[in-house]
C-alpha cells in the first residue's frame, strides 16, 4: 500500500508506547466540576443557569447564540454552586459554571435519539449537532455545526476523517479508533449526508497499523476509503492532510470548503454519531494522560469540567520532579500553571514531565532548518526577525498569517530561538491592528 | 543671530562638525587619495584653498545672488578656484598632481565646499565665513592626515615617506588599495561614534 504524505514537516520522537495498548478507562465524575462557558473557537456562550439551580447530565447550561459559538452542557447532575470567573486552560479567566455532583448521574429526561439517523435531512443533522454543542475535538475546537454547512457556491465532494494523531504521546484518538470503529464510520456517513459529499476518506498514520486494519475491515460495508499516511508531524494539520490525501491545496487564507473538502477528527465524528443517534450532547471526551511525570499513564474518558488535579489523581498522581504540565500535545499544547484548571472540550491530552528550565538562545545562523521543515512553506526565521524589528507589513507579505503554529520550526531550530512565540506575537499584533483600523 | 563665539565657530570643524568623521562629507577624495600622507596633505590643502576662497567670495556677494540661481553661481565660483588649484599643482608640483589624478578637478563636487556655501557662507558675514572655512578646512585636513597616516604606516611602513617600521614589517598592501580605505574609514567612524557616545554620556 502506498503511503501518502505532504512535503516538509518533522519527525519528533513518538513516545506513544506508554498508553498505546491501554484501553480507555472511564473516570468517575468528581464531586465538584467547573465548566467554562467558552470551550471553542468563537464567542462565549450565554449562561442559562444560576446559583442554586438543579441540573441534569446533558442539560444545556450555556447557549451559544453567535454564529461561531457552541452550547455548553452540564456533565453531571447536581446543584449549581456558582457562575463566576474561573481559570481557563488557555490562560485568561473566563465565566464558568461550578456544579456540585450529587453522584446520581441523572440523565436529562428530554434527551432522545433518532431511530434512523441516516434518514435525517442535512438541516436536521446540523440542528442536532448544534444542540449537542459539538466542536472539533482535535484541539482547535471549531464549532462543528459551522463546519457542516458548506456555502452554496462551494460544493463539498470529499469528507476526510482525520485519524492521524500526529502529536507525540497522544493516543486518545487511536484508542477510540480501536474501540469504536463502527461509531466513527457511521458518524462519517452522517457528515457525508450533512455536507452532500460523495466520498469519505479515513486517513491513518502508519504507526497505527492496527487501527488501519480494523478500519479497512469495517469500511468495506460503508464504502469509505481508508488511506495510510506516513508518520510525520504535522500530518494531521488540516491543510497538509488535504494535500497529502488529495493533492489539493487550500488557498492562502481559505478553508477546506474552497477545495471541496470537510475534515473531521475521529473523536468529533464519534461525538456527531452519539449526538445524532442518541441525542447525547458533548459532555465527556477521551483524553490521554501521559508523559514521564505521570505515575500511571492512561487513556481516560473524562467529564468536561473535571479539574486537572482529579484526572491526575486518577492516574496515580504526579512524580516529584515534574515542572511542566501541558494541555494537548507536546507540539501545540498549552502549558498550564494550575491543577485547578478544568478539562474542556478541546483537551486532547494532559501531559506532564520535567523540562529544562531554559535554553541558551544563540543568534540565528540561517541554517535553513525552519524553512526545510515548515509544512506551510514559510520562512520562520525571517518572520521572527520582522516581528522583532516591528516590521509587520513585511511579516504579512511573507505570509505570517498562514502560519499554523505547528512548532516544526522551533522544534528543529538549533539556535533554540522561540520562533513560534515571535510569530504568534506578530500575528496578534497584526490582528489587533486590523481591528483597530476597522473600528 | 550668531549664537556661537568666534572660537567655537572655528573649533567646531575639528570635532563637533568634523566633515569626515561627523558629517561624512567629501568621501570621494577621503577614500581615493589617502594612501600616502603627502597625497592626503596635498588634497587637504587644495580643498582648503578652494573652500576658503569660495567662502570669501560667496559671503561677500551673497546679497547680490538671487536664490534661484545660487547653486549655479556657487558652482561657477567653486569651479574657478578648483581650476586654479589644479593648474597650480600641475605647474609647480607635477608628481603630486599626477598622484592625485582626477581628484583635484573633482573637488568641484566635494560636498564640503558646496555644503559650507549653502549652509554657512550664504547666511553669515565675511569674517565668520572665513573662520568657518578655516575651521572646516583644518578639520578636513586633520581627518585626511589621520586616515592617510594609518594607511601609509600599514601599507608602506612609512610616515610622510620616512621609514618608521622595522625591516621585519611586511607592508599590508590591502591598506593602500581601495578596500583598505573603506576598512580604515569604517573603523575610524566607529571609533568616532563611540567617543561621541562616551562624551555625551559623561555630559
Amino acid at each position: 500500500m502506498k503511503v501518502k504524505t505532504f512535503p516538509h514537516g518533522i519527525h519528533p520522537p513518538e513516545i506513544k508506547e506508554r498508553t498505546f495498548d491501554k484501553a480507555i478507562e472511564v473516570m468517575p465524575p468528581p464531586e465538584k466540576l467547573t465548566i467554562p462557558l467558552l470551550q471553542h473557537f468563537g464567542s462565549p456562550a450565554e449562561p442559562l443557569v444560576k446559583k442554586g439551580d438543579e441540573v441534569f447530565v446533558g442539560q444545556k447550561i450555556g447557549e451559544g447564540t453567535a454564529l461561531f459559538s457552541a452550547s455548553i452542557h452540564s456533565s453531571v447532575s447536581g446543584k449549581v454552586l456558582s457562575t463566576d470567573n474561573h481559570i481557563h486552560p488557555l490562560g485568561h479567566s473566563i465565566l464558568a459554571v461550578t456544579i456540585a455532583n450529587d453522584g446520581e448521574d441523572h440523565l436529562l429526561p428530554s434527551l432522545q435519539g433518532t431511530k434512523d439517523p441516516f434518514s435525517l435531512t442535512p438541516d436536521e443533522i446540523r440542528q442536532r449537532v448544534k444542540e449537542a454543542g459539538i466542536v472539533g475535538l482535535g484541539g482547535a475546537a471549531f464549532p462543528t455545526a459551522v463546519k457542516l454547512s458548506p456555502p452554496k457556491d462551494k460544493p463539498v465532494d470529499t469528507v476526510i476523517i482525520n485519524g492521524c494523531e500526529c502529536e507525540p504521546l497522544l493516543t486518545a484518538d487511536y484508542r477510540l479508533m480501536l474501540e469504536h470503529p463502527e461509531d466513527i464510520l457511521k458518524g462519517a456517513e452522517i457528515v457525508r449526508l450533512a455536507t452532500g459529499a460523495e466520498s469519505i476518506i479515513v486517513g491513518i498514520e502508519n504507526n497505527k497499523k492496527k487501527a488501519f486494519k480494523i478500519f479497512q475491515e469495517k469500511a468495506k460495508n460503508n464504502a469509505a476509503e481508508v488511506a495510510l499516511l506516513k508518520t510525520k508531524y504535522p500530518q494531521g494539520a488540516e491543510k497538509n492532510l488535504i494535500y497529502a490525501l488529495l493533492r489539493r491545496e487550500v488557498p492562502r487564507g481559505g478553508l477546506p470548503f474552497d477545495v471541496g473538502v470537510v475534515v473531521q477528527n475521529v473523536g468529533t465524528t464519534k461525538a456527531i454519531w452519539d449526538a445524532v443517534s442518541q441525542g447525547e450532547p458533548l459532555y465527556q471526551r477521551v483524553i490521554t494522560v501521559s508523559g514521564n511525570g505521570i505515575e500511571q499513564p492512561k487513556n481516560v474518558l473524562v467529564r468536561i469540567g473535571t479539574p486537572f488535579q482529579n484526572v491526575i489523581n486518577f492516574c496515580g498522581g504526579l512524580k516529584e520532579n515534574v515542572n511542566l504540565l501541558v494541555m494537548g500535545g507536546p507540539m501545540m499544547g498549552v502549558a498550564q500553571w494550575s491543577l485547578e484548571t478544568p478539562i474542556i472540550k478541546g483537551t486532547s491530552g494532559l501531559l506532564a514531565w520535567k523540562a529544562p528550565l531554559s535554553y541558551f538562545e544563540y543568534s540565528c545562523i540561517r541554517c535553513g532548518r525552519c524553512v526545510e521543515h515548515c509544512p506551510m512553506g514559510l520562512v520562520p526565521s525571517q518572520l521572527m526577525k520582522f516581528v522583532k524589528f516591528d516590521n509587520l507589513i513585511e511579516a504579512e507579505n511573507w505570509g505570517i498569517l498562514d502560519c499554523v503554529e505547528c512548532g516544526s520550526c522551533q522544534y528543529s531550530c538549533p539556535a533554540k530561538i522561540l520562533l513560534v512565540h515571535w510569530i504568534r506575537l506578530g500575528k496578534n499584533k497584526i490582528i489587533s491592528l486590523r481591528r483597530k483600523n476597522k473600528a | 543671530m550668531p549664537t556661537k563665539s568666534i572660537g567655537e565657530e572655528f573649533l567646531k570643524g575639528f570635532w563637533k562638525e568634523n566633515p569626515i568623521f561627523r558629517q561624512l562629507l567629501g568621501m570621494c577624495p577621503t577614500l581615493a587619495v589617502t594612501n600616502a600622507m603627502i597625497n592626503g596633505l596635498a588634497m587637504g590643502l587644495a580643498t582648503a584653498f578652494v573652500l576658503i576662497f569660495s567662502s570669501l567670495v560667496v559671503s561677500s556677494i551673497k546679497k547680490l545672488i538671487p536664490s534661484q540661481v545660487r547653486i549655479a553661481t556657487y558652482i561657477v565660483i567653486i569651479a574657478t578656484f578648483v581650476t586654479i588649484a589644479d593648474r597650480f599643482l600641475a605647474a609647480f608640483f607635477p608628481p603630486i598632481s599626477k598622484n592625485l589624478g582626477p581628484y583635484v578637478p573633482l573637488i568641484v563636487v566635494n560636498c564640503i565646499i558646496l555644503g559650507r556655501q549653502e549652509a554657512f557662507s550664504s547666511k553669515n558675514t565675511v569674517g565668520r565665513s572665513l573662520i568657518d572655512a578655516f575651521g572646516m578646512s583644518l578639520g578636513f585636513i586633520l581627518g585626511l592626515l589621520i586616515l592617510s597616516a594609518i594607511r601609509e604606516i600599514l601599507g608602506f611602513g612609512t610616515f610622510f615617506g620616512f621609514q618608521v617600521m622595522g625591516q621585519w614589517f611586511k607592508p599590508w598592501i590591502i591598506m593602500i588599495l581601495p578596500p583598505g580605505a573603506f576598512i580604515t574609514l569604517g573603523i575610524l567612524l566607529a571609533l568616532a561614534l563611540q567617543i561621541e557616545r562616551k562624551t555625551k554620556a559623561r555630559r
Binding site: 489539493r248 544563540y362 541554517c367 505547528c406 538549533p414 | 590591502i174 569604517g186
Partner: protein, 324 residues
C-alpha cells in the same frame, strides 16, 4: 501534593537535540581527516599553522566579545574554531606565521565581529581573512612549496592550477595526474593537498545533514558544464572538468566554505542559484581570469547575493504552489 509549581512556556514543548555548538563541532570533526592529511604532507609547519590560526581566532573573538560586552557563550560554540581551521587550510604552507596570525585576526575582526558576530556576517569570515592576506601579501600568498612527501627539491613550486594557467600544461603534457589530485601529494594550500580526505569529511557532514547537498552538487555541476564545453571543443588546450573539480580549492570550497550556513541561502531554490553561480564564476576565473584559482573570490562574490536570494528565492507558501 499541594502547590506544585509549573513553568509556563509557549509551544512547542519538544526540542530537537541538535544545537548550534553541535553543528559547529560536527564541522570541526569533519575537517579532521583533511587536517591530518595536511600534517602528513607538510609536517610540523601544518601543525603550527592550524594551531596558531585557531588560537588567534579564539583570542580575537574573545577580545571583541569583551569589548562589545557580550556573553562568552559564543566563544565556545565552535564557530571561531571553524573559522581559524578553515583559514589555516586555505593558506600556503610556506606562509610565515605572523601573516597567518594577521589573517586569523582579520577574519574574525572584519569578517565576523564588525557585522555583529555569529549569524550576522555577510561574507564567510575565513575567506575574508584569506582575501585580506591575498591582497596584502600577494607574493607570500602565491609562493608554494611541494609537500614533504613529494621528493622534489625545488624552492618554489607551481600548484597544479598555476601550472595549467601559466605553463600551458595541457599542451606540454605536464598536467598533474588526476590520481595525485585525488589521493594527495600535490602542492597547494594546506587543505588542498588531498581530495579524498576532504571528501570523507564532507560525506560525514552530508550524512549528518549539517550541510546542504545542493550547494556542492550545484557548484560541481556548473563548473563541469562550463569547463566541459571548452574541453570538448579543444581538449588539447583546456583541462578536463574532473581536473578542475579535483584541483585547487574547489573541494574544500564547495563542501566547507560555500556551505557555511550563515552565508549561504536558506531556501532550496536560493541554494541552487547560489551554487550554480559559484561554479560558473570559478570556471570563468580559472579559464579567462588573471588568477589561476577563483574559488575564494567566487564564493565571496556569491555571498553578497545571499540576502537577495533569501528574499526573492523563498519557498512558495502552501496554497500558492498550484492553482486549482
Amino acid at each position: 501534593m499541594t502547590n506544585k509549581t509549573f513553568i509556563l512556556q509557549s509551544s512547542p514543548h519538544f526540542k530537537d537535540k541538535d544545537s548550534v555548538p553541535k553543528i559547529m563541532y560536527a564541522v570541526i570533526f569533519s575537517l579532521m581527516p583533511a587536517a591530518f592529511a595536511s600534517i602528513y604532507f607538510f609536517r610540523l609547519k601544518a601543525v603550527v599553522m592550524l594551531f596558531s590560526c585557531v588560537v588567534v581566532s579564539l583570542a580575537t573573538e574573545a577580545i571583541f566579545l569583551w569589548l562589545r560586552k557580550k556573553p562568552f557563550h559564543s566563544l565556545l560554540d565552535g564557530s571561531s574554531v571553524i573559522t581559524g581551521l578553515i583559514l589555516a587550510m586555505t593558506l600556503p604552507p610556506s606562509l610565515s606565521l605572523e601573516l597567518a596570525v594577521i589573517g586569523a585576526a582579520a577574519a574574525i575582526a572584519i569578517g565576523k565581529q564588525v557585522f555583529g558576530g555569529l549569524g550576522h556576517n555577510i561574507f564567510n569570515p575565513a575567506l575574508v581573512g584569506r582575501a585580506f592576506l591575498q591582497t596584502s601579501f600577494p607574493v607570500a600568498m602565491t609562493t608554494w612549496i611541494p609537500p614533504v612527501t613529494a621528493k622534489i627539491n625545488t624552492a618554489t613550486y607551481a600548484t597544479p592550477l598555476a601550472n595549467l594557467k601559466f605553463e600551458e600544461a595541457v599542451a606540454q603534457g605536464t598536467l598533474t595526474p588526476l590520481k595525485d589530485l585525488f589521493w594527495g601529494n600535490i602542492g597547494g594550500c594546506l587543505g588542498e593537498a588531498s581530495a579524498i580526505t576532504l571528501l570523507i569529511g564532507a560525506l560525514y557532514l552530508l550524512f549528518r545533514r549539517v550541510i546542504d547537498w545542493r550547494i556542492p552538487v550545484g557548484i560541481m555541476v556548473s563548473l563541469s558544464a562550463f569547463t566541459g564545453v571548452f574541453w570538448l571543443i579543444s581538449p588539447e588546450k583546456y583541462a578536463s572538468p574532473l581536473f578542475h573539480i579535483l584541483s585547487g580549492g574547489l573541494m574544500i570550497g564547495a563542501f566547507f566554505m560555500a556551505t557555511d550556513m550563515v552565508t549561504s541561502p536558506i531556501s532550496p531554490l536560493g541554494s541552487w542559484i547560489y551554487a550554480l553561480g559559484i561554479g560558473l564564476i570559478v570556471g570563468l576565473i580559472r579559464l579567462f581570469g588573471g588568477f589561476p584559482e577563483g574559488v575564494m573570490y567566487s564564493i565571496l562574490f556569491m555571498n553578497a547575493f545571499v540576502p537577495l536570494l533569501n528574499r526573492y528565492a523563498r519557498p512558495q507558501i502552501l496554497g500558492e504552489r498550484s492553482k486549482r
